[in-house]
Symmetry: C2
Subunit: 149 residues, 2 copies
């Protein structure tokens, strides 16, 4: 089973690098300073989320960022997989699947009620991957968003 | 413009009642004790969200529950309209629209980066309502969920 390590501020550099690699791959422009500032609260104990490093701490294989919020309907904390990134070289070996099983176990023990994620419905590989680990599409429901300035 | 009042523990009874009316309407079974426990953290200053009462405090017309979480991409707090409920008698008068405009103003002032919500894509009235206030469908993206036990 892939080991998960709760990241702290000592992992800021390696995470800033990996988040940058993820953004590059997604075609999203990001600058280093912005990434550092975005990561820091989650490494400093913010109630809004945690980041886990996958694999050996000396050379992490990737990271999973989980954010938390409250569900009025369930009366408990809901989690969201905000980001999951694996270095290109180690993909296709079951590391992500194994990390998600481990994650489910850890988050359940912490009393989390449910875990959600957003997926591009055209990305069959991602849909199949998350389906195989137990996620189900929330049929008929759509997200609507408004940017605030 | 519809007035919004930040709810606190003194509004627990009226909110427990209104959340129950909302659940009844949605065909969701809920018991009073569970609703009270689910509401309480948001009335006691939890970082995960706030509840606004709409209209006069002596006789609220409805409520809006907003939850907060962190966005690693944006490096700031994201909000979600978790629930929006208006008493049946006062619907169709523009109260919800007006409340959302007020809400956007308040949340922007507090530095929120974006506001999201989940809508039943078959509910044309809800889609049109939120579209008219500035929300846009997040095309191609789907939610996947897993219940944890």
């Amino acid at each position: 089973m892939t080991t998960l390590h709760l990241a702290d501020t000592s992992h800021l550099d390696i995470l800033t690098h990996m988040v940058g690699a993820f953004r590059d791959e997604e075609g999203i422009t990001s600058d280093e300073d912005h990434r550092r500032k975005a990561l820091l609260p989650l490494l400093k104990g913010s109630p809004y989320g945690v980041i886990y490093l996958m694999g050996p701490l000396s050379s992490p294989l990737g990271y999973i960022a989980i954010t938390f919020t409250w569900s009025l309907e369930f009366g408990g904390l809901d989690g969201t997989i905000d980001e999951l990134y694996l270095r290109k070289k180690v993909r296709g070996r079951g590391i992500g699947t194994s990390a998600i099983y481990r994650l489910i176990k850890v988050l359940s023990q912490h009393g989390l009620k449910s875990l959600a994620l957003e997926v591009d419905g055209r990305n069959q590989r991602a849909l199949q991957f998350y389906h195989s680990t137990g996620f189900r599409l929330r049929e008929h429901y759509n997200l609507m968003v408004m940017e605030l300035v």
